[in-house]
Symmetry: D2
């Protein structure tokens, strides 16, 4: 069998997560990055036949004018997030990828994101025109690089939430609405439609709407392709999905769970807009009551603290009742580098998705639930059991 | 079917865990305690037909001269561990149980524990004489209270570790050694032998030797009875068994895991003897390498800080490598009341064990692995998967 | 010399701080409370001749219908903030004080506080009528209890902030405005005017306006009496005033200082109104830049978490640059019982103020700066140096 | 006035603190380092006339064979303690200083330190011979670099403690003992004697014996020179000296103060020897009781955790009684880079000491108390008041 050539198309291609993923991919190809943070490198997935790292070609959409190398270097110099050599040694490849990045769309991304859009981002397109343009970019990318398949991953900034009731319930109705300049569909969903309509795979790593609507899932099944989301589970919420089952299984009654998150990257700038933050906070909060089966008082804050750069620090305070009602406390402090936690998962998702393509699987890839804060089509929020879904899929 | 009458025989009957368990049992019978901290009250175990709380009659062995009521009141006044009313409203029952507590044995418990032994604890018995005396106590307890079955639970202080190679490998050989005054068998194992030889169930909630030796498991199977241990998993180690799988499943490489535990109860006094502490620390430490599959640098300390009373505070610092080798940190602080975390598990174990007796199960009760730091006969240390063993057993 | 009889008049007489102060005063009179938390019990103030605890007679104003005993018992049963006996043994005295509490005024306290006002709180008074009524209460209290002097302490809930420019700059002008129903003067300032105009001492333990305006200080000096405020420094802000000088004196550059406060008492309910919270947060925040001499990014949040009751938990994250610009971090977690931290300071302030009265001091009592987050007339925010101001006063 | 030329002679010249100090000095000369962490750069010391950074010439003693550049690079690559450019841009100067480093002495440094000694460290010298050799090195350094004065600073690894009673009480007696091969005097004291006898200044930045003995202070006064120590106060102990006064001044009764320190630099290797650790722990612990005036239960641990490199992480748990005896808790977590906290203080001490030389001050420089965990001749342990001693000296 000839090795497949796989496209990895990043939406938000010059953000922190994308640039880290690209730098990491380069290091992996050089055999220097180790296994750290890579789920697909675990022994249980070794014999699955996942694509090699050198099978991947990277391109993407981006609305900001920026150079990948500069973005990556900021993670080094401002955030002290990784060793400088990772970036300097990947310089040529970063520049080559820069040349494959196309202007994205800023439709319904909200003013806080839109202000970053460069002059080459069209401002007058209808949704249908935007989709058509994005599809041309994807088709040219596939042709130019002789790709067997492309996985589109949304790692762009979080859009303000969309009222789900405003989205037409069927693909037919949604398709018709694409000519309407007042359609509420945000950019993340237009990218999803562009990709899925072409038979490509789509992953929504953000809390934006993406392929969440039923109508877009219908499109994926019609085109016999696949998608999944949403919102990569990398830090504080990952810990919630690990710890909350323990409280439940020991019948320790959580009275309140407070989580304060501080960090200073571009994501933080966008999330300082209350509209954008709302989508993120909802995604971080719901799983507690789903795991516990009742509603403790919860509080989630996300605040932009410039000096922290990419270092996300979370303090969680969990107040619970033990035997005979005695109140007890657990607190945790998580100090992780946001982009470096997210980037390997993006690469893992691309590998697992490519295999699902080879296996001919369609619709929502629920076996990927453990990667997401709000997994499409999955009620199970317990990380341990979500991981078993991945194991079961791998074993099938 | 007539409801069975079940004996709950506590070894270390007047310690913090025992007195909390008894106070809690009284509150449960009055319908006042709620479900907090009780695994056997979870919905998934509701239809199992576990014994009601009023089926239980409590007795026990103890080497210290003490009154249960006074011990329980110390948890209120010194440790602020529970509301005073729980103790005062149980006063009569506590006094009645006092009358059912018999002098234990202090053979091979080490000098730090032995110093607490009262004058009615024999000092010149052979191991066989001690076993015979303990068995008379158990038989009288069963007869006097017309019990259908008794579950013996060791909640006494941690003994110094015993070299496993010094314990005869078969029941036959071990039985013969009971006449030897120089036998290394500690009290915890003599209680186990006494119980199992009578066909009773035995649970070792401590890191002491108990029924760990193969020869004692053989005895259990010969007498068609059951046992399990060891060392109740209540706080910091519980969290290790919940968090370490997450680090493994995300391929986040743990470089070091430091855990400092401070508390000020009687357990703390005993553990300030390095010999006794050694057993405890080994039990708290091994599971990390078993879950992770490699050996991070680990450090576990347990220190007696008088002012904390029963409030065990643990600080854990986990230093791990993420993508591209970037070091990140998670820390947690656990502030739990030791006796109140342990006591409900003792009651749960009694209920689950009584059902295993009715079901006719023999040998090690591996389905109880999730309750223990070092579960007998179980290599699985991942709490989530251990809990699934309990669910599977319940569903069978 | 005959011992003076001193009135302690608490505004917000049935809140958490007031009820704790009263319970503590009763315990101090019985000689049972120890020295814990009492600044005036330090050896350096022993020979000052401060009034004995049995010199004090307590009364107060309150807008909520409540019983002191019930309020105090809530600190026991809901918050586990103190031993039950402190309250039960003071029951008679608490009931006697209840009889000396008069309806307060709810003028300009904002809707969140006003909703708690009982039916006996007048709703149609002009400011002048309110002041006159409050003064009658104070005069009757002094006469009925044959008091030599009364210290009025405001421990009521935090009012929304008032624009200082809206307050007339002289006593003469302010006095005339008291007939104006649209005067912006809030209750805290009316209590201050009532007290000071009678020659009594006034302490503002809250961030409300109180006696902050120049015109009210002028009144105090005209009447040859004294006052001080504002906002008792009890926990997180106390630590800021202790730690920030260290960062400055070591030239460690604070880049950001984030402080999250969670708690669940009545104060928390009131502070969940953004208007009221604004006054509090300003008071907690300014001192960092005053101590450091530059403006680090700061964030202060105060959130109501019901389960915590009176237990204020604060997490502070301080991100600073060390030598060669290397970023470092200090975090602290403060778990203190709010009322129990504040109450002894209220008693201390009453004692120190009474002595200032005997000494004939007038105007702002700047020597009390160490007790306050925003001390009137004092630029020094460094706790150590503020404490030296108290020592200097005591030594004079 | 011609600018003085000042020697900075570092004992332990290639350790983490020394190499950071040298790298920092180079950056300061280039005007790139900023003020971060430098006490002598505070505005209050600006007009004192302290020596400029380019007045300093660095040399030193060292027992390990090592290159300064390599040692400094380890702080970059292993510990991520500073930006790489600080080291690479100082490479030439580091190599020049390497050439000025002479073999030290390993007399009575204990086996854990001695194992690192290179072949050029003499093993058969008497104390007097060692002192004579060290003095030749210092004299050559001064002559070769035309120095007006030299400040010797001990930043070598911590020696095991010495029984003070074993050290002769007068210089006369101590001098005579230098021919005795069994003299208990450790290397740190021999360096002190060598320096002071030549009229140079000596600073002991470690808990080793150094110039602590009365007899060595007598020597300093006889030679009209000056010295100070001991043990630089950089992190956890600094915080103790800042926080403990607050607990005392608020009469909050500290019941227990637990401090756990973990780190992974060379200091950590040496301190994993219990003999060496003992000196360090005593130095970290005494000040609490001196500040508080009573003895809370204290616990200090220092553990070597390799993965942390130079990042010292300390967790302190302070359990205290508030009003009415209610127990409360403060915890802090300090994550600082050890060498980067210490190095600027070494440079500051050299500057302040050089000025004391110009001012003709002799004996112990008590005005430097704020820099030390155990300041010679100073009972005051409160950091704020120690800093005022420095301010007073500067203002004189």
């Amino acid at each position: 069998m000839t090795k497949p050539r796989v496209g990895l198309w990043l939406v938000g291609a010059k953000g922190g997560v994308a640039s880290t993923a690209v730098v990491g991919l380069c290091a992996l190809r050089r055999g220097q990055a180790g296994d750290f943070g890579l789920v697909s490198h675990l022994p249980e997935f070794r014999s699955l036949g996942l694509a090699d790292w050198d099978a991947f070609v990277v391109g993407g959409h981006e609305i900001r004018p920026a150079r990948l190398f500069d973005e990556a270097m900021r993670l080094v110099s401002v955030s002290h997030a990784m060793d400088e050599r990772w970036v300097t040694e990947s310089r040529e490849e970063l520049d080559a990828i820069d040349a494959r990045v196309r202007p994205g769309t800023a439709i319904n991304v909200g003013p806080t994101i839109r202000q970053f859009a460069g002059p080459d981002v069209p401002t007058e397109e209808t949704p249908r025109e935007a989709v058509a343009r994005l599809q041309r970019d994807l088709a040219e990318f596939a042709a130019a690089n002789r790709l067997d398949h492309t996985v589109v991953v949304n790692v762009a900034s979080t859009e303000p939430p969309v009222d789900p009731a405003a989205v037409p319930p069927t693909w037919d109705a949604l398709d018709r609405s694409l000519d309407d300049r007042h359609s509420p569909l945000p950019a993340s969903s237009l990218y999803a439609i562009a990709a899925l309509d072409l038979g490509l795979s789509y992953i929504n790593f953000t809390p934006s709407l993406g392929s969440a609507p039923e109508a877009i899932d219908e499109l994926a099944r019609l085109r016999r392709t696949r998608h999944m989301g949403c919102d990569g589970k990398t830090g504080e919420t990952l810990l919630k999905s690990v710890l909350a089952p323990m409280f439940r299984q020991r019948n320790l009654r959580v009275m309140s769970w407070v989580g304060h998150n501080i960090f200073g990257n571009m994501d933080g700038v966008v999330l300082s807009d209350p509209a954008n933050k709302k989508a993120k906070m909802a995604s971080k909060d719901h799983l507690l009551r789903e795991i516990l089966g009742y509603r403790p008082q919860t509080l989630v804050s996300i605040e932009y603290i410039e000096s922290l750069g990419d270092w996300k620090t979370a303090w969680d305070h969990i107040h619970f009742k033990g035997f005979l009602g005695t109140p007890m406390t657990m607190q945790f402090i998580w100090q992780g580098c946001d982009s470096l936690l997210a980037a390997p998962l993006v690469l893992d998702l691309a590998r697992f998705t490519e295999l699902a393509w080879r296996r001919g699987e369609t619709g929502r890839m629920t076996f990927l639930a453990s990667f997401f804060k709000s997994p499409y089509g999955v009620a199970q929020q317990d990380f341990a059991r979500q991981f078993q879904m991945l194991e079961a899929w791998a074993g099938s």
